[in-house]
């Protein structure tokens, strides 16, 4: 029981953290509240399902899926989101329309029935006396590697410096000679890459269905605001908290699978009562 809570909690944490990091970056730099973010995660899961069933090798399938998702996402961003980026409510609707568009495309091509992707590694391993599925291990490793990679990119490279500067203050970053629009596109690509990897990593664990983007979207939004919009550390901590809250409710409360999202969101609202700017967010007075 404790072991499965721990393993499931870690898997969910990793997935939500990948999604929340990308979402938070895109919001921080581009000021785009991207409701289509988890739709790309869904598309990636279907991509890996498609390529796995047509018999490409696993590495090729992963590369094709990731490249496809990033290319499609960037194209849609350039075509539909960037021209209306300044108008908040319109961005909301445009990204939502993109999400619904993907859901419907997937419905048309793959149908409504839930799909399953064969695991990359089957079987179990004993870790400190606990049986852990190999696929869970793979998912955790992928999540850990992508998060470490993102952290390295953000904190150790010049591009990361530019991204952080643009996230902190778009106008001043622009004045300092950073091509803010290009940085925004790069960040969009990075967010899409993380979403695609998350989708690929969980496809063998979860059922793949057209509506699978809704629940993660709610949790990711909650995690990002729980941690404080614009704070990357915050969105990671928020994802971990919400993931464990969800898993605990599912395992410990009878009928918990109905309540899991509700409880996670209740935690978010309770945090708002105490700290309206989220756990690690800058307070309103500082924000411009």
């Amino acid at each position: 029981m404790v072991a499965s809570i721990l393993v499931n909690g870690l898997v969910y944490s990793g997935v939500y953290a990948m999604l929340a990091l990308g979402f938070g970056l895109v919001f921080g730099v581009g000021r785009v509240l991207n409701l289509a973010h988890t739709a790309f995660y869904m598309v990636a899961a279907y991509g890996i399902f498609y390529f796995a069933s047509t018999g490409f090798g696993l590495p090729l399938a992963v590369i094709l899926t990731t490249l496809g998702v990033v290319a499609v996402g960037i194209t849609l961003y350039k075509l539909f989101i960037e021209p209306v980026r300044e108008i908040e409510a319109t961005v909301l609707i445009a990204t939502l329309a993109v999400a619904v568009l993907f859901q419907e495309l997937v419905l048309v091509f793959f149908g409504n029935e839930p799909r399953h992707v064969p695991p990359a590694l089957s079987g179990f391993t004993q870790v400190i006396g606990v049986r852990v599925g190999n696929q869970e291990m793979v998912t955790l490793v992928v999540a850990a590697l992508s998060l470490i990679g993102a952290w390295f990119l953000l904190s150790k490279t010049k591009l990361g410096l530019a991204i952080r500067a643009a996230a902190q203050d778009r106008e001043v970053a622009n004045l300092m000679g950073i091509n803010v629009n290009r940085v925004t596109s790069i960040v969009m690509g990075l967010g899409l890459l993380l979403a695609a990897l998350a989708g690929i990593a969980v496809a063998p664990l979860f059922t793949v269905e057209p509506g699978m983007w809704m629940n993660p979207l709610v949790i990711v939004l909650a995690a990002v605001v729980l941690g404080g919009l614009g704070s990357l550390k915050g969105s990671l901590v928020g994802s971990v908290i919400l993931a464990f809250a969800e898993v605990l409710v599912v395992f410990l409360v009878p009928g918990g699978s109905y309540l899991r999202t509700a409880i996670a969101l209740l935690i978010m609202v309770c945090v708002f009562f105490i700290r309206p700017e989220g756990l690690f967010g800058s307070s309103i007075a500082e924000e411009r």
């Binding site: 209306v84 908040e88 609707i93 939502l96 329309a97 939004l221 919009l229 009562f273």
Partner: protein
């Protein structure tokens, strides 16, 4: 006789001079005359739902378009209105004219209760906190299936009226009356204050406006309107079932946002146009190409917001009408001089 002449003069001088006002007049008249032309139950059903949803969309516009408090969980108010009246109707056998005000009252109270904690939250935080409420209510509904009907929802709710035409007139009447009342409210000083809160809340406060009171008022009014729509929905023959998967779903929360932004935010007629264009369209697509209906719908919404980011009606209005540069009176775009002050209207607006 005097009043008839006054009315005619008013019609000629104030309504027929502007195409947008003519459109509103024609719209209201055709809405009221519609059952005389056709009594097809499916069409009536579609228009009943369209009227209900326009009320719902207007309530979102009031809170989010005018006051700028973007709510992504508006289904909470609609769902509470629907659930409260459905529960009262099925558990206590109260008649619709008692349950609908009760549903609206519950939604108003919810508006206040949600509004008070949300006063501390700004912009995106508010949007995402409100997103949580209908999902939490869904959790509650599913946790007590014996009382609330659970996932299957509540069936066999008392009908509003005996025939569908009566119901059509009742709902369209309520919709037009409520929209007119709201239009008067937002056209008054209160509406101006709502605009000022959206544009710059700090500045509004500095001018001595009690923004807290007005924001709460906007929450309560919006909750009330959405609650009326939800309660009517629960009793209408078009729905007759109240289930969390419909009235509390994420899509139900996003729909008024889509309609309002599509039609044009912070105008009362924008959301109504949005609903009256998009809802029948979706219904028709459902008949013609059921497989691709949402696909076409999403694509259309995407294209409209791409090329008319401020909404359809705002774009149309700016195309066919022009504001006089000296006295701010609206004129039809074909006029050379202003109808009020005879100032020259420039061909191209800067």
């Amino acid at each position: 006789m005097y009043y008839v002449r006054y009315l005619l003069r008013y019609l000629q001088n104030e309504i027929l001079v502007l195409p947008s006002r003519v459109v509103v007049l024609v719209f209201v008249a055709s809405l009221l005359a519609f059952p005389l032309l056709s009594q097809d139950p499916n069409l009536l059903r579609m228009f009943i739902l369209t009227a209900l949803f326009s009320l719902y969309a207007v309530s979102w516009d009031l809170l989010s378009g005018y006051t700028g408090q973007i709510s992504l969980g508006h289904a909470l108010f609609f769902g509470l209105g629907a659930y409260a009246s459905a529960l009262l109707s099925s558990h206590l056998d109260l008649p619709p004219y008692a349950t609908i005000p009760a549903g609206a009252a519950v939604a108003t109270l919810a508006g206040l209760l949600v509004g008070i904690p949300c006063l501390r939250l700004r912009r995106h935080y508010l949007a995402l906190a409100t997103l949580a409420f209908p999902i939490m209510l869904t959790g509650l509904v599913l946790a007590f299936p014996g009382f609330s009907g659970g996932e299957g929802g509540i069936w066999r709710i008392a009908r509003l009226t005996t025939t569908r035409v009566h119901e059509y007139y009742l709902i369209v009447g309520v919709m037009l009356g409520a929209v007119f009342a709201l239009w008067r409210i937002v056209g008054s000083r209160v509406g101006l204050i709502f605009h000022s809160i959206r544009e710059d809340e700090t500045a509004a406060r500095a001018l001595g406006i009690n923004t807290v009171r007005y924001k709460l008022f906007a929450f309560a009014l919006s909750g009330f309107t959405a609650g009326v729509a939800g309660a009517l929905y629960a009793h209408s023959s078009a729905a007759r079932i109240v289930a969390p998967g419909v009235v509390l779903s994420l899509f139900m929360s996003f729909q008024p946002v889509i309609w309002t932004i599509f039609g044009g935010a912070a105008t009362i007629y924008g959301p109504i146009t949005g609903v009256f264009v998009l809802y029948p369209l979706l219904d028709t697509l459902n008949v013609v190409i059921p497989r691709y209906r949402m696909l076409v719908f999403a694509l259309l919404v995407l294209l409209i917001v791409r090329f008319m980011p401020h909404g359809l009606t705002t774009w149309l209005r700016d195309t066919i009408e022009r504001v006089c540069p000296s006295c701010r009176v609206r004129n039809i775009a074909t006029r050379r001089v202003c109808r009020a002050c005879s100032a020259e209207l420039r061909r191209t607006q800067p």
